[in-house]
Symmetry: C2
């Protein structure tokens, strides 16, 4: 059976030592969360995740969700009880507006809790996760009456939410969507069409589910400029705000899929369902994009979450499993064999995962803090810089943390040998669950295009310039510190490659857009490595400082060792990315479509 322990210490180190949490104490919400309160919150979240959510992860995978003959959906054993504990603990609305019953705490804390929760049980965490996305959409775009009707029940977790975008013939290209909305005399719309791949589309965790649905109002323009956003509750709230009449929306079937079996991925049929317009007509995609950044950060976090729990189990196994002898001489003479952690190649796999995890967590914390600044800072310049950061880094985090997170689960599975391929250790579930994060909320190739095609050139490249300047400043400020040298050399090289890659794009992508498309994926991963490397620089600096102050030498030494591994063995990949992207689009476009 797999196990999980939430990395509370590491999160606290990042919040306090690396990002100096107390600097933000004057922002709304942060004042309520001084370091001791943060520690208490994270510790309580850890307990819930370890003791309630994780124990039903493997069993939830085996059992899956079941659609009943009446179209209702049953979640796996234990999910209802787990959800009750989660909702009653106030975790759904941790960062939501207190006006609707939320705790108003920083988003950064919600992101940390979501990492733990997804590590413990990714399928489960998607239920409240989608509610959080729906809350964000309604809070930003809903009328006061819509907000009053739905938000209190969603923030408390009493009702759940979903996002309905995809249709059989359109996922990435939402301009093709066909679901139609016919205006009714009472100002509502009759929604008709089919949506697919709807996570948490139906379930038995809550008495009502609030669907956010993209549809095309009759007569609206074709393409993306004719799409509107609607709220379509499963049960229409009655005058008292309780679930009333059953609406014309139902789960037609549950997808048979590779993983996240504990989450019901539904085909949703809308058959003249009553919907209320959210935001402006024909501006539904813009309304969606508002919550895209947070949703994508959430998915990035899932990549980290599976990598973390996979690492923990693989490390424990490597310390226990006796097999073979160390190349450098017997290490456990009293045992029939050495634990496999003596083997350099087993350590390589573990360290590749660990070196990713700690830096990825730092990236999530950093970017979440910027999200908080973007929403909560009174200083317009700070908000703009934060928005720049979010726009630029979100596709990088989504693409790179989910790609590398998936690779981590594959490596962790490999540490187990054959025992990783069978179900009982749970390692193969992490692989199957992690895989979806590379696909949903915009497949990673789309993230790369978003980065290169939209985010890089935006505002004359202001966001990238700001990022690179920050990295260069860090390199400069620390170059005289010999203890920092191992953490700067690889980063400097990577940053140079990133600049060269950017230059190549500027010189080659304007005249020939296919060059941008051909370079995008490598550029995104190169960027990700530099961002992760910069995080290692920051972590090393904080670790050296804490050690110098006499704190936690062993833990800090471990960080310094893992960071050195990252610089020596992971950062060199930037060169390959640069070499590849610099070859341009020709070798990609040469083959005629029919020759594939």
């Amino acid at each position: 059976m797999p196990s999980y322990k939430a990395p509370v210490e590491d999160t606290l180190f990042l919040l306090n030592d690396v990002f100096q949490w107390s600097r933000y104490a004057d922002l709304p919400g942060f004042a309520d969360a001084p370091p001791d309160v943060v520690e208490a919150i994270l510790t309580e979240a850890a307990r819930l995740c370890e003791e309630v959510l994780q124990p039903v992860n493997l069993s939830g995978d085996r059992e899956g969700c079941k659609r009943q003959p009446d179209g209702s959906v049953k979640t796996p054993k234990g999910f209802r009880e787990a959800y009750k504990a989660y909702a009653e603990g106030g975790w759904v609305g941790l960062a939501s507006d207190p006006a609707y019953g939320g705790q108003g705490l920083p988003y950064t804390l919600a992101a940390a809790v979501n990492e733990y929760s997804a590590s413990a049980n990714m399928s489960f965490t998607m239920y409240p996760g989608l509610t959080q996305s729906a809350i964000a959409a309604i809070a930003t775009h809903g009328s006061e009456s819509i907000k009053d009707r739905y938000l209190p029940k969603m923030v408390s977790g009493e009702w759940a939410g979903t996002m309905n975008l995809t249709e059989p013939h359109c996922g990435t290209d939402l301009g093709l969507l066909k679901t139609k909305a016919v205006p009714q005399a009472d100002g509502t719309y009759a929604i008709t069409g089919q949506k697919i791949f709807i996570s948490a589309g139906d379930h038995d965790l809550t008495p009502n589910i609030v669907h956010l649905v993209l549809a095309r109002i009759e007569g609206a323009p074709a393409g993306t400029k004719g799409i509107s956003l609607f709220v379509v509750p499963k049960f229409i709230p009655d005058a008292q705000g309780n679930p009333g009449a059953r609406n014309g929306v139902s789960c037609g079937s549950i997808e048979h899929k590779m993983g996240i079996h504990g989450n019901a991925t539904c085909v949703m049929n809308y058959d003249g369902a009553t919907g209320w317009l959210i935001g402006e007509a024909n501006r539904g995609l813009n309304a969606m994009f508002v919550m895209m950044n947070e949703a994508r950060l959430g998915v990035a976090n899932q990549g980290l979450s599976q990598s973390e729990v996979a690492y923990q189990n693989a490390a424990a196994y490597a310390r226990d499993r006796l097999q073979g002898r160390s190349l450098s001489g017997i290490k456990a003479p009293d045992k029939p064999a050495d634990p496999i952690i003596v083997h350099p190649d087993v350590r390589r796999m573990l360290l590749e995962i660990r070196a990713f995890n700690e830096a990825a967590r730092a990236l999530v914390v950093w970017t979440s803090l910027e999200a908080d600044l973007a929403h909560r800072s009174p200083d317009e310049k700070v908000r703009q810089k934060a928005e720049d950061h979010l726009g630029l880094l979100t596709p990088v985090l989504k693409g790179v943390l989910t790609d590398r997170g998936f690779d981590s689960t594959v490596k962790a599975q490999q540490v187990f040998g054959g025992h990783g391929y069978v179900g009982e250790w749970g390692m193969e579930q992490f692989v199957r669950d992690a895989r979806i994060a590379m696909i949903y909320e915009g497949a990673n190739g789309i993230q790369a295009l978003d980065l290169v095609g939209r985010k890089l050139p935006k505002d004359g490249g202001r966001a990238l310039t700001s990022f690179l300047t920050e990295v260069q400043t860090f390199l400069k400020v620390n170059e005289a510190d010999a203890a920092m040298t191992p953490y700067l050399t690889g980063l400097r090289q990577g940053a140079t490659h990133l600049q060269q890659g950017t230059m190549w794009l500027m010189q080659n992508a304007m005249a020939k857009p296919d060059n941008a498309g051909a370079a995008a994926y490598d550029f995104m991963h190169m960027f990700g490595l530099v961002a992760l490397g910069y995080m290692w620089g920051r972590i090393a600096k904080a670790a050296l400082a804490r050690k110098a102050a006499g704190g936690d030498a062993a833990a800090m030494d471990a960080k310094l060792a893992v960071g050195r591994f990252f610089m020596e063995r992971v950062m060199p990949e930037t060169a390959a990315h640069l070499a590849r992207l610099s070859t341009g689009a020709d070798s990609l476009m040469a083959l005629p479509a029919e020759a594939f």
Copy 2:
């Protein structure tokens, strides 16, 4: 529903154009297989794979194998009929000794057929595949009476075979195995113990199953030098050679695993089962190693097989699926969107797979031909060179073709977006099935250690010298040919990196064995890239020649384009591997075991 078409044309191109099949016409078995016969055999195999095996692949995954209350195992619907067709077609014994009813054809043809068969249905193919391994073991080490009793029935496919090595506490380190063999008065042994992860351990395809079992004869030395190999039939053959008394071996349970659900992976319980010693007592591991090369090549072939079938389906989907518009202008103005094959990043994924597949197939053909030479050439020097090749390249093929083959299935799945994550298109099955090949027959980290620790230094590095000399000669011979330049530059660079990596190992691994362990995985992958790159050089040369001779211009142009892609976009990875391995073991060994 996924589809599959066996790449007969490509195999024939490799056999005839690249490796000049007719050169071997004077070897035993090759005389019976001139090009037209080869084409007929491959075409017939293709038909069986496409029409019989592939149609029960997805359904076999869904249904899985079921252990009945009496301990017998039921394979999925259609497997019995498929097996009947496979056995009656003579495919089990295609390359087996005619003295036992085999067709005596070159192993190279069997390898090609096994690729097709595994592409069509990997779970199914493992049943006859394990029989082929068991045949090889008995043929090499069995006494005449054992051979006469078992081989005719196994070669015909009437009976199946299995390999029983792994136990709960030992996989890689077989020296720890505990299954015991107690000598009986009649010369047989009573075998008692538990084996796990036994592929095809029990099933309903054949009336008898011949288990090859590693066990320790009572009183034998500890460790690997006290292990013997036994044949343990499920039913003991009676005087007429038919299945007689039920032996004391049975399937205790079927593993719940990530993939290859159509193959029964069994816990096998031996309870005083009657076994016959094969080969010398205490030399069982040596007997096993004889068939290791072929078994590992077979697994390498599985990596290719899943990559190929995943590619075919992804390419077809990319040509059909309409989504978004080309960055360089609308390509299908009559349609609501362009097919996604217009997007450079979709082409990148497809070409990374395709560029691997064609070169990997060449590596399998090349190495299979060397296996044929090792067994069939009358010239001792040729045999020795072939053995060198096999020893050196087998771990590279096993490790690299299964790692990259798995990556291919993940990329092909990505081309499908959300449709790749659900079951109906079959893409997620390829990922789950391909994953096991990185683990069994020696996990890939073990292949890397075998390469660096054993195969490189063997005979003073003779095998590697021979490989590098062949590559250098190829580079030299073709350097004046301008048409070949795109296929030489990247290869030259890669070969240089491989030499530098080898030098680094010579200088650093002797004094400090952990440096070998730390470098092994990167070295193996660097070697694999050079080997794949060399194959692209050979393919390009043959394609240019065929084109010059007026043949198949479109098909040859496609090869030349894909090869160029490989050189520009894949070969640069060798630099990262060299950079990583040259950092040595320090950053891997610094962290104490308890700090993981």
